[in-house]
Symmetry: C2
Subunit: 154 residues, 2 copies
Amino acid sequence: MLDISELSRKSGAPASKLRYYEEVGLIRSVGRKGLRRVFEPDVLPRLALIALGQAAGFSLAEIRGMLGQEKEPSIDRDMLAAKADAVDRHIEELSALRDGLRHAATCTAPSHLECPTFQRLMRIALVRQGARGRGRKQARAMSQKGGTARGDNT
Amino acid sequence: MLDISELSRKSGAPASKLRYYEEVGLIRSVGRKGLRRVFEPDVLPRLALIALGQAAGFSLAEIRGMLGQEKEPSIDRDMLAAKADAVDRHIEELSALRDGLRHAATCTAPSHLECPTFQRLMRIALVRQGARGRGRKQARAMSQKGGTARGDNT
DNA sequence: ACTTGACTTCAAGTTGACTTGAAGTAGTAG
DNA sequence: CTACTACTTCAAGTCAACTTGAAGTCAAGT
């Protein structure tokens, strides 16, 4: 059993974050000692899991969905596989970006704008921009709002 | 010369975003026709460049720094190379994550918590969490705030 | 000349993920 | 028994990157 400061120390997350996570249902404390939360040690791996999900680009809401409220994470395997695919696509995009950046760094064309590689990059960038639902925040915000997102004014 | 709606249509970005970008100094309009902004066509590649930077995980502030206010982007090549390296590190992390996710999706260990691969994943996640300045928003927020970020309450 | 509709400004709102601050409480050391 | 300190709650603030809304303006078509 851990109190919040121990958990904070061991996990590296500030106490405020841990309280927040509890508040939004990502972790649970198993009781109180006086006022103080008491955590089971298994929240540590769970926190790691959460950090993992974030690193992979998922929102806390998505992560909560993936982890469920069970004690044992019991992650949906199809979900996981789908997420892996999503990460993979992200990686491909980033690879293209990296290549483009490297090229741009060494390119001697008079202006980047005239460099074909740079132009290819731009196309990639535009594709990304145009892509909906790629797991970033605006996309989610839009989907919640219901999507008449292009019209600037009525 | 383009007006904002043409630019919006061609770039795929809503007009509000374009106004916002101008406001924060990412793009410039070269004049007005009546009230209406008039843009030179070269803001199109510039917008692509901005989208590119975002895709690579940079903040608009960073991108503004990279692009400078010159008309010709004139990107600092060392900067670019450094960014490419950063993207590369990000890719490596994501690759590990993807591998881990895939494994987790097919892993038959009684609980993920007991699976060694999953544990490795967690270590990666914790490393990521511990790493400062990895180019995401909190990191930036911290660096601006000046960093006494661990102390929960004085 | 007048209407129209696409633009304009400016302030305020939104979202996610937290942090910060004030004010209160309780286990523990002395 | 009293201080002390580390916790507690709750509301409010922050940050980036935009979006939304209200109210105004102006160029062009009829």
